[in-house]
Amino acid sequence: MKNQYDVLVIGGGPAGALAARTAVEKGLSALLVEKRPAIGAPVRCAEGLGKEALAEFMEPDERWISAEMTGAGIVAPDGFEMRLLSAMAGSKVGYILDRKFFDRELVWQAADAGADISVKTRASAPILVDGVVKGAQIEYCGQVSNVKADVVIAADGVESKFSRWCGIDTTVPVREIMSGMQYVMTDIDIDPHATIFYLGNEVAPEGYLWIFPKGDRAANVGIGISGRKSGEGHRAKDYLNRFVKKTFPNGKTIECIVGGVSVCRPLECTVGDGLVLVGDAARVVDPLTGGGIYNSMFTGRLAATVAAECIAKGDVSKKALMAYDKSWRASKMGKTIERNYLIKEYLIKQPDEKLNAIIHSVAKMNLKEFSTISLIKEIIRVNPKLLVDLGALAASLR
């Protein structure tokens, strides 16, 4: 580890790994620090990723793919299940990853490309000069040192602190944090190629419960509920245990995972002077699905690309780095986040009876294309009154 780099990346998840790799590919020097002793562990994720989303970054590799998905099911509050299959019978629509190996692979690629990596290494304070971020104070096994950098990329996840220390308020509203818990279960009867989503206020208030297969008889069985619905006796843990006891009484739990997922709008501004925020730290999670892997990789890569341009021009001011902020907001990802935020806000307000009615009506239709947007369009087609309810959103769907 040197004491000066072009780019310092804080956090070794998919956002940080893509940022570090891209930076060195652009000819910059980069250091990635990860506070935990291992990349990829502990997992804080349901591990689902779409086929096309992955294809934008890399070829699938069986070393970090647990299972391939060909369909999905949505279970209404009344227990009715609607099935969604890919347009071509049997063709893949997505993957359930093994994040321990996936994250490690991404960081490995960054290292192979030339980035320096340091684990069990925590950024404990920014180096600020007249309000401009110039690097970070780094702690490794009791040793404290300063690492200077032209640009710091904060990829420190849902529990992000770095940007807050730099004066950016990253607080997630209580109602917009998904309080989550997941068991990796084995010896359970499942459809090994379909992701199943359970909706309803009794099952998962203002969130959903999922079964994401990890093998023929294994799956991530998890839940996310709104922070405002969480409390003593009715936490994520309580809802999940109730479901598992009823649905998989003989299943075996081989891993217990907890975590928080933000489903708020992204931060109002994701850059500062010498600073760029990416991934969960920027709150760019899809507010409808809670998915964040693709968005993290996308923003991580984009952040380093813009940082390289700004460093080349000798201007890493907030104004110059705003090119990153503007670019992701204008991207398909940025637009999807805004659209899905509005859909999420609509759906969480619906009583169970309404959710039942929507899901029953859509199940009668033949969905030609497998995607969230085609599902939403179909919901609106069979429930034209929704157009009024959804207001501003309707225009963006045509």
């Binding site: 807050r164 309080s179 994520a236």
Partner: protein, 70 residues
């Protein structure tokens, strides 16, 4: 671990045996008083014992306790 609040005679108690070190609480803290340092949750002195973190915790590892009851 117990941290005395500056404002109230209440404290935030972290049940380390229950905590899953996931950082969910850190993201909602309006004061920025919490930090997840690997498998260790640190609570700073600016904690106001507002209880938001305790509410959202998936496991119920955090509790606001009155000083007398500790």
């Amino acid at each position: 671990m117990k941290v005395r609040s500056n404002i109230f005679s209440e404290m935030l108690n972290v049940r380390r045996d229950i905590c899953g070190y996931c950082g969910c609480c850190v993201s909602v803290c309006p004061e920025g008083a919490l930090e997840l340092i690997d498998a260790y949750l640190s609570v700073e002195q600016n904690c106001t014992s507002c209880g938001i973190c305790a509410k959202v915790c998936p496991l119920g590892a955090l509790e606001v306790v009155h000083e007398k009851s500790v």
